[in-house]
Structures are given as structure tokens and as C-alpha cells.
Symmetry: C2
Subunit: 439 residues, 2 copies
Amino acid sequence: MSDLTRTGSTAFYTDQYELTMVQAALESGAADRRSLFEVFGRSLPIGRRYGVVAGTGRILEMLRDFRFGDEELSFLSREQIVDSRTIDWLADYSFSGSIRGYAEGEIYFPGSPLMTIESTFAEGVILETLILSAMNYDSAVASAASRMAQAAGDRPCAEMGGRRTNEHAAVAAARAAVIGGFASTSNLAAGLRYGLRTIGTSAHSFTLLHDSEQEAFAAQLRSLGTDTTLLLDTYDVEEALATAIRLAGENLGGVRIDSGDLVEQASEVRAGLDRLGAHDTNITVTSDLDEYAIAALAASPVDSYGVGTRVVTGSGAPAAGLVYKLVARADESGAWTSVAKNSTGKPSRGGHKDALRLIDGAIAVEEAVGIPTLPGDLGDGRSLTVDLVVDGEIDESYIGADGVTKACARHDESLAELPRSARRMQDGEPAIPTVFYPK
Amino acid sequence: MSDLTRTGSTAFYTDQYELTMVQAALESGAADRRSLFEVFGRSLPIGRRYGVVAGTGRILEMLRDFRFGDEELSFLSREQIVDSRTIDWLADYSFSGSIRGYAEGEIYFPGSPLMTIESTFAEGVILETLILSAMNYDSAVASAASRMAQAAGDRPCAEMGGRRTNEHAAVAAARAAVIGGFASTSNLAAGLRYGLRTIGTSAHSFTLLHDSEQEAFAAQLRSLGTDTTLLLDTYDVEEALATAIRLAGENLGGVRIDSGDLVEQASEVRAGLDRLGAHDTNITVTSDLDEYAIAALAASPVDSYGVGTRVVTGSGAPAAGLVYKLVARADESGAWTSVAKNSTGKPSRGGHKDALRLIDGAIAVEEAVGIPTLPGDLGDGRSLTVDLVVDGEIDESYIGADGVTKACARHDESLAELPRSARRMQDGEPAIPTVFYPK
């Protein structure tokens, strides 16, 4: 797995136009203009009350390896994608600018200035694709996971969707799901890389492999111990339950149901387990769950949820819709000019920004965004941005397992201060309004 | 990019339960039973007429590197995920079985036996997650791309969605989109790895960076040549168009529109270009396109489409819904038993299968699946499965750039034999029925 931890180069996870823009900006002389890029979302996915920032730690990790090596440079030259002057510039590339942003795990709303990249134009523009890829996917998953974890309440959710998304995306999805409040993942690479708790016992194929369900259960119990979770729905759930407790005794760790009417089955299985004295045996359900299905099971005797497809595909919103825009540039004297596209239907707000979550009695009431600064009389608030990279120095504390731990804590705290309406499953407006100052 | 071509190991893109099942099967003695796993989809995404198989070449590439190295084995040991006997078994792992399947690029329908993996149980079960990740994501993208390319007719589509999906998924998405009929991609890693044609010129940020649009256009033209594509909608499209032709002359390669009412704008821009004598200047549109938006532009004077979010997220179906099931196992004497889960709502058909696309007058009429064989009197048909791995020997011709070329050809041919109803955009039934024999 060493390649997963340190790839040779991340610089080619990039759209070609980032490099041709560098070439043309070197030509015009504007490549070195100080520039401020901003990542934000124009809106949340339809009906969502809040979004969750994720991907930040992975971006910082990949930024360390954002270098153009011989293989990349030869390709660019051979394919005549950019000229030799640009190739020389890329060969020397190392990001020397600064990045600030919402901490990973933070809640966000439409227009929240999630990340700003300040550097020369050329240094900043070529990070666009990589930063957006990581933030759009990871935030989509973390936002979906957060809603599911909220719906699950005290019951743990496990991420099991790796098989329903690209194999590398699966690792990022596991990490993002945990940041959004999931307890564990089935993905081994995510366990290795990010220290996430991994889980998993057996599938239907294991039961089908054996001459009888009893043989399969007995083998699993001998090999994995009584604490294992037995899968009940390969043949007949009621029979499987009886077999399971007969073999394991009343201390069986858990049972899993993966099909059928889960509300009905959970009650029947709980009754069956209790009748056999297995009062502490947990019930896990895992069939096509999303936040709505989880909410519908709230009154059922379920102990934990395994979520697959819907969490790794953002539960209907597979990309967070974040964009990376030039919002200001400086002239040679250092004076900044705010810039924004004058486009119909795609609002952008140019300029430097400052963001504060206004708090009234421990409850968030407004996302206040100052362009460029906020008035002093807004009341209590929490500053939302932190330094991620300062003059090319990456804050390593956001990377790896420690970064995930920090992000989980940030998410918990931010979620706790949201109004109750944020937890509603039905479609609605963002939980708090975003207000831009001056109004 | 060397890490992209040859990762150290792909074995941890795996769910934990694959390995605990190996452990329990070693315990029961069933680990070495000959087993047949099958990949199939129970249904197509709602309303779709057909699906496109993709990911096969990537699976074979990753299978070469499916080895458990020191880092993986130490993790499994340290975290007590499996016992030492299983760790020894994993340390020696090398797939020695056989894989057959629909060739990459092939069209598929509900129940098509897309891939079969025949090996010992233990050797085959641990490939489940990786195979499904690649096939579910890549097939989702290729299936969406195919519909979009059909809607676009002779006009080329370019994949530009890397920023809307995980950065590694972006490379797979570019590849899958080209297999589905796209002409090119903005993704540089996909160009390097798979020999795809890459494209891209400039974004709004490039225009905003300069003191005027004229300065930006002039720099781009000087640097990238008259054949470049200028982006018109940063400020005012009409003014931008006049500036573009004034600077570039009537031989300007192309213009791009990225916002607004594309139908209206395309006509206005075409009229403007023609008025200025730029009859050969191409118009590319790139704003939130999907198959429906492309179809709606069929009568507009557009020359090419750039598609982002919707193609890399499968246009509403971000995972193809394929599953990997044990369908048969042999006992110690070598006699096979068909197996299938007896579950409500999730139909599986056990047993070996043979698949034929029945053709009547050059048009496909039925997906015929024999369990285990087909009757001899079904009429003309095309056999659908090819050898991908034989006794551990991987057919390398499906890997890399050559594999993509083959897959594109396969897709074109298979699409050409579908009935016209397959090209309909509105929701409907699969273009041909899947029939299982004996009936």
C-alpha cells in the first residue's frame, strides 16, 4: 500500500486547460500576478439543510506530491500540449502560496467561502482540478453520511459501499463517511491509511459454499469466535436464527439481515433472539439503506446499520457542486482588484472574504460573510477559517489519521450548535441563512 | 505517474469480510472448493434501454498487482483481522483461476452474465470488491456516455468532469466515457495512461486575470495559436465575439459558451460568426449538459459538447448496480452444484451460463442466456463472452491504450446492431428482452 500513502505525483489529476492557461499567462506576463481563488458552492443539493466540508486533509497530502516528473513532462512535450517555456516552469513547480479554509468536518451553507488559495495566478490555477475533485466527492459523501448518522441517532452506521464506487474513491468515501459521523468501514485500505475502525464478517457466498447453513455457521463461529455476526437471510431467516443460537449460544455477538422488509424482520428476529435468551445479540441491517430508510427503522429493534451505495454516491447528490473561482487579483503595485464573471444564472461574488458563524445562546443563527470584512457589531460568533498552508508550508496536523480525528471532532461540535431544523429529513431551506456584508 | 501505471498493491481495495471469509473457509476445509462467481445486474437503472460494460481492462491491470505485501500483512496481523494461517495464505496469494466475460464496451441487459470467475472459493471471493468497484463505476459512466454520444450524433463529446468526482475516479471516468463514445477528455492522467485524446484551452479565470478581455484573448491567441478556442461568456458574449474575430480573424478555431440559454446563444453566436466571415469557427457548449440537454440542442448550430458532472456521475445512476454472486461450487469429486440465495426481492439464478445475442437481419432481438447451455435451434446469434484470464494467465491485450481501442470498437459494433428503440431518450424497457433457457 505504499503507493497509496505517497504517490509518485498527483500533478496529472488535472485538466489540460490549467496548463495551457499557465502557458498563455506566461506569454502575457500575468502569470505572476498575485491571485486569490475561492472554493464555494452556489447552493446545497436540493432540499438539504447543510453541507459538510471534507477532502481537506487529502488535498494537503496530495499537495505534497504535486510535482511534475519526467514522465509527465515528457508526455506534455511529446503531445505538444504546452511549449518548452511552460515545461521548464512546470518542472520547477512547487506551491509557495497560502491556503486558508473551513476546517475539515465543518458545516457549510450556500456561499460559504470554503477555501481560499492565494498565490501567483499560475501557481494557484493549476491546483483547481485536484482541489475540486477531492472536495466535491468527499464533501458529497460526508454530507450524506452526516444526515444518515443523524437519522441513526445513537446506533452506529458502518460504511460498506466500496464496491459501488471507484476503488480509490472507496477509500476516500470511507474516510468522508467517518468524518460525517459513521463509526466504521468495511474498506481495508481506509483502515490502513487513516486508522479507521474496520468491520465485516461474511456474505451469502460463504453460506452457499458449504453443504448446509449449519456447517457454514459452525465454521464461522469456530474461526471468528462467538462474538462474530452471522448472516441470516441466505435461506430462511427463522431457521437460520434457530441454528445460529443453537450453535453459538445466547452470547452470539450479532446477526445481520440483508433483504426483505427490514422493519418486519427486525422485530421478528429480535423476538426470536429474546425467546432464545440471546438478549445481547445485536441486529445489523444492510439492505439499500439511506437516511430515509434509517429514519423509518428508528422504532425498530435494530442495533446498527450498514450503508453501501447511497452513502458513497452522496444519496442523490454525488458531487457537492463546489466551484473554484478567481475572486481577486493584484496589479504590479500590489493593489487588489475584485473580479467576478458577469454571467446569468451562475452567481459569483468577487473579492476577499471573512466568515463568521453567528451564535445566539449556543445555537447558530447566521452564516455571516464579509466582503472583504465583517462589521464589528454582529454579536457572538465563531470564526470559520483556519490556516492550511502558509507560504508553501503545509500544516501536517490535518493529514492522515490525526486529521480524521480532528475532522470528526470539528463535525460533532459544529453539528451540535445547529438549530433543530437542520436534522429534518424532508426537503427544505438551509438551516441558517448566509448573509453577505455590506448588505 | 509511475504509481498510476503500476501500484504497489491493489489487494487492499477490499472489504474486510472477504478476508474473514477466507479464514473461516480455511477452517471448514471449503476454501479450496472449485467455485464459480458471476457478475450481473438484476436490472438496468430506471428507464434505461441498455447498459455498457466497462472496467474490464482496468480489472485485469489491477489483478496483476493483487498481492499482499508486508505493509498489508502487518496491518492484518497487528489489527488481528485474520489469524496467522490466513496471513500465510494471503502472503502466497496469486490468482490461478480463469475469468471469462463480456468484452469491454459490449452492451448488456438485465441478467446478462457479465463476468464469471472460476477458481477455488478463497481465490475468487477476495476479488469481489475490486471487480465490483471497477465495473460498477466504469459501467455507470460508459452507459451514461453512450446515451449522450447517441444524442450528440456526429458531433463529438468531450469528457470534462474530473473535478466533479474523486481524482482517481476521474481517470477511470475519462476512459469509460471514451469507451461509451466520447471523443476526448480534459484529464491529463487519462491521456498519459490510456492514450486518450486530451483537450482544453482556458477558463473564465484567465480572462478575469487580465486587465481586459481583449488582452486575455490576444495573449491566448499569441500563445496557443489561431486554432485555439476562446471562451466568450465572461462578460458580454456579443462583445466577446466581436473582439475574438477582430483579433483572430475569420480562421479562429473555436469559441466556447458556458452559461445562459444555450439554444438561443448558439444561434446568436453562429449568426455573429457568419456575419464576420468566420464560417469555419466551431462552437462548443459546456454548461451542465446531459443526454437530454444534448438532445435539445440537436437543431442548434453547435459543433461539439463538453460534458462534466453528469457523465462522471452516471447521469442519475452513479453505480451500475452490478453484484458478484457465488452461482456454483464443486464437491471434492468435481461435481458442480448450482447455488443461489433464496431471497425475497433480490433474484439470483444459480448455475453455469452461456450467453448469445440473437440477431435477426442484422438487428439484435434477444439476449439468450442458457443455464447451463442454450438450445441449438435459437437461430443466428453472436457469442458474448471472451477469455480474459486462463489459469492465471491474463490476456494483456485488454489492458492500456490497446484495450481502450478494442473496447471502443466493440461498443460501436454492438450499438450498431441494436434496434432503434435503444436510442430513445425517454424512459422505457430494455431494448431487447433477456430470456433464460430452459424456459
